[in-house]
């Protein structure tokens, strides 16, 4: 046998799911491409895990954290599965979501229930076969509840995302994937805190400026807002009038 044949045989042997080598990632049974090649390369299985919880620690709002997930959601909806958002922090703005390609009829939004009810709804959504992704913005989680959710996600084959603030980071988690999101200049830095695989030292830098739902591209030079008492008029750049009937007349 030649050495090439040997190495091919060994490589085939190593693809066995029971074998895990420290250097690489565990093979995820099913994943959904995130739409960002750099991120997919860092995630086990090459995308967001179906049938598992993902924890996203967001440093602050408005850094593109939801935009990061939209391509995968659009893909899931195209498969005919629905998306459930439980207790989002603000009102989802339908025109922007529709412009980003989301099918609003397949997006169920649950707002205004108690945290116990939200947890119940989250588990139901994770277990439901018709639900492709369930996002939860719940405040506090007990460890036990989290493990229950992870089991529900695995049984329902649903991508569950738990949105958390960085303060909750220190505690151990049952979620097999945990990412921290923070802004870095104009880009989004994704640090992999936990994955089924080796540790990743460098954060993945993503440019979200072109993604649907992004505010603007390219990012123009800004100017600071002067003190609110200032009487200076707004910057004299193109003044896009939308509906100013009175001004037009």
């Amino acid at each position: 046998m030649t050495s090439a044949a040997h190495s091919a045989a060994i490589a085939r042997l190593l693809t066995h799911p029971a074998i895990w080598r420290g250097g690489d990632c565990a093979s995820e049974p099913a994943s959904i491409a995130s739409g960002f090649a750099e991120l997919d390369a860092a995630l086990p299985g090459g995308g967001w895990p179906r049938g598992a919880l993902t924890e996203l620690l967001v440093e602050r709002e408005g850094i593109g954290e939801v935009r990061l997930t939209l391509p995968a959601l659009v893909r899931l909806q195209a498969e005919g599965r629905s998306v459930v958002w439980i207790a989002p922090p603000h009102r989802p703005y339908a025109p922007a979501l529709a412009a980003a390609g989301l099918d609003l009829a397949r997006l169920i939004v649950i707002r205004g229930c108690s945290s116990a009810e939200a947890l119940w709804a989250y588990e139901q959504a994770l277990r439901a076969p018709e639900c492709g992704a369930a996002f939860g913005w719940m405040q506090a989680h007990e460890d036990r509840a989290l493990r229950r959710l992870q089991v529900a996600a695995r049984e329902g084959r649903t991508w569950g995302v738990l949105w958390r603030r960085p303060g909750q980071r220190a505690s151990a988690t049952a979620a097999p994937l945990r990412l921290a999101l923070s802004p870095q200049q104009t880009r989004l830095a994704v640090r992999v805190l936990k994955r089924r695989g080796a540790e990743l030292a460098q954060p993945v830098l993503l440019d979200l400026a072109r993604t649907p739902g992004a505010p603007l591209y390219p990012l123009p030079d800004g100017m600071p807002i002067l003190q609110r008492t200032s009487t200076s008029p707004p910057p004299a750049r193109q003044h896009r009038l939308r509906t100013s009937q009175r001004k037009a007349s």
């Binding site: 709002e61 850094i63 935009r67 025109p95 980003a100 169920i108 205004g112 800004g222 600071p224 807002i225």
Partner: protein, 508 residues
């Protein structure tokens, strides 16, 4: 053609016994009204005491002083018969009510599907008995013969037409619905059996008693066509169930609710519908009603038309768990408020195809527990003002199938006040945030500490002078000192150029 007749011999009693099973332990009679009420029906206990049908009530009281007497409830009997007819519609499309206590159904076409005549009859009988009615059944090639045989207690099925004369001849003429005078005249002439009547000269019989007598005899023997008027279930389902005893906790309602859901499912199947909206009214005891407390009602809305009892029951159970009863309940009423056509489900070719049991859609489960205003589906609304550009709808409204008797008329009738500037703003190229704050947040203090950078804008949005929510704002995309992208505006509502800054959205 093969007809089965389902006769409810003690229907007058059964409608009372269903409501109060305890009364069956005591002598119980149903009385006709009027000045001299007579016994219409008596239960076994009363029969043992010597009470017979058509006795005067005073005589019955002499036999058994503790007898319970109720006036006959014709409406309840008619409703019960309609219920049985609806049940039979699950087995065959041709069902007719032929008498005040008898229903006939054509079963030749259904035997194969239900696994043969014996199996089908057992299923029919079990489904009638499960509703609490005593029944007697007979099978014959004509509906009239089936009715006669059921009345005579002839339970052996008669399958062939040629066997009819032999079977029917010895039966008394009283098994047929002739006028009492006809029967009396024939009896005086010594004609008491079907066979004897049929042997009489036909022309003379018709001249003496009318053509319908001859026709009836011919129809029984399948020598004349016998068209039956098909029973049609009512267009709207509403059924009341009087509970055996007042109930003051919701869990105990399960039995009654189950029964009504079974009825509703049968009605839906008979009409080929699925229910979209239904309501359950819990009627309190009389003394509570007199105090002006209205019945508690629970409304249910489903994401898509549904018919499976397990599905309906799961939805109802979640919703009922949240109902608190102000007083005990003596009756429940289930009503179908809105229905939509629902095709039947084909059986799978292979046995494992049947493994997928009824699955309650996620939306229905969530909404039945959390409520309609919590679980929403968003939709865009053509409107320039950001606050009004999102409308939250209930998931059911996106079902596009036509409704049979929705109480609103017209498809998607828009009765909103038409605004002069209405035009779709979906295809805007201006930046729009994914999150909109519930309330715009004033920024006066935040701006003092560290500078916010304006990245894009201004975009003037000025609209709404016609409906009182007038606004005039310059929107900007801004970067907060911490690096987040937000949507902020300067309020120019009062005409000044140095209005307050507000944060309104987040480019999440």
């Amino acid at each position: 053609m093969l007809w089965t007749c389902v006769l409810l011999p003690s229907l007058a009693l059964d409608v009372f016994a269903r409501a109060a099973p305890d009364d069956t332990q005591r002598p119980f009679v149903v009385a006709s009204g009027g000045h001299y009420p007579r016994v219409v029906a008596a239960n076994g206990c009363a029969n043992a005491a010597g009470i017979r049908g058509d006795q005067l009530i005073s005589a019955a009281l002499a036999f058994a002083p503790d007898v319970v007497v109720r006036d006959r409830d014709g409406d309840a009997e008619a409703a019960a018969l309609a219920e049985v007819a609806t049940l039979l519609l699950a087995f065959t499309p041709q069902v007719s009510i032929v008498h005040s206590n008898a229903v006939v159904a054509e079963i030749a076409g259904s035997m194969r599907l239900f696994g043969g005549l014996t199996q089908l009859l057992a299923l029919l009988g079990a489904s009638v008995e499960s509703r609490g009615y005593a029944r007697r059944m007979a099978v014959a090639p004509t509906p009239t013969a089936a009715l006669m045989l059921a009345r005579a207690g002839h339970t052996q099925p008669v399958l062939r037409r040629s066997a009819l004369p032999d079977v029917l001849s010895p039966l008394p003429l009283t098994m047929l619905d002739f006028e009492p005078t006809t029967l009396a005249t024939l009896k005086a002439a010594g004609v008491t059996t079907f066979g004897a009547a049929h042997a009489l000269p036909r022309a003379g019989l018709a001249r003496r008693f009318g053509q319908h007598v001859v026709d009836t005899l011919d129809r029984a023997l399948d020598r004349a066509p016998d068209p039956q008027r098909s029973y049609e279930p009512p267009p709207r389902f509403e059924r009341k169930l009087v509970l055996p005893a007042p109930i003051d906790n919701v869990e105990a309602l399960g039995f009654g609710v189950n029964r009504l859901i079974g009825d509703l499912a049968g009605w839906l199947l008979a009409r080929g519908l699925g229910v979209v909206r239904m309501s359950l009214a819990l009627i309190h005891e009389r003394y509570v009603r007199d105090r002006g407390i209205p019945p508690s009602t629970a409304e249910f809305r489903l994401g898509a038309p549904a018919r499976a009892p397990a599905h309906l029951h799961a939805v109802m159970r979640e919703r009922l768990a949240r109902v608190t009863l102000p007083a005990s309940v003596e009756a429940i009423v289930l009503t179908s408020d809105e229905t939509a056509p629902l095709a039947g489900r084909n059986f799978g070719l292979l046995p494992e195809d049947e493994a997928d049991a009824v699955v309650v859609p996620l939306v229905d489960r969530l909404r039945s527990r959390l409520g309609d205003d919590v679980v929403t589906v968003l939709a865009t609304h053509p409107e320039h003002r950001p606050e009004y550009a999102t409308s939250a709808t209930t998931p059911a409204t996106r079902s596009s199938q036509p409704r049979t008797h929705a109480h609103s008329t017209g498809p998607q009738k828009r009765n909103r006040k038409a605004s002069p500037l209405e035009q779709p703003s979906a295809a805007t190229d201006a930046p729009r945030p994914l999150w909109l704050l519930d309330e715009a947040k004033i920024l006066s203090g935040a701006l003092e500490t560290a500078p916010w950078i304006l990245r894009d804008g201004p975009e003037r949005i000025e609209s709404g002078w016609w409906d009182g929510h007038d606004l005039r704002r310059d929107y900007f995309v801004a970067e907060t000192p911490q690096g987040g992208m937000v949507w902020i505006y300067r309020d120019h509502r009062y005409g000044t150029d140095d209005g307050e800054w507000f944060m309104h959205g987040v480019f999440a």
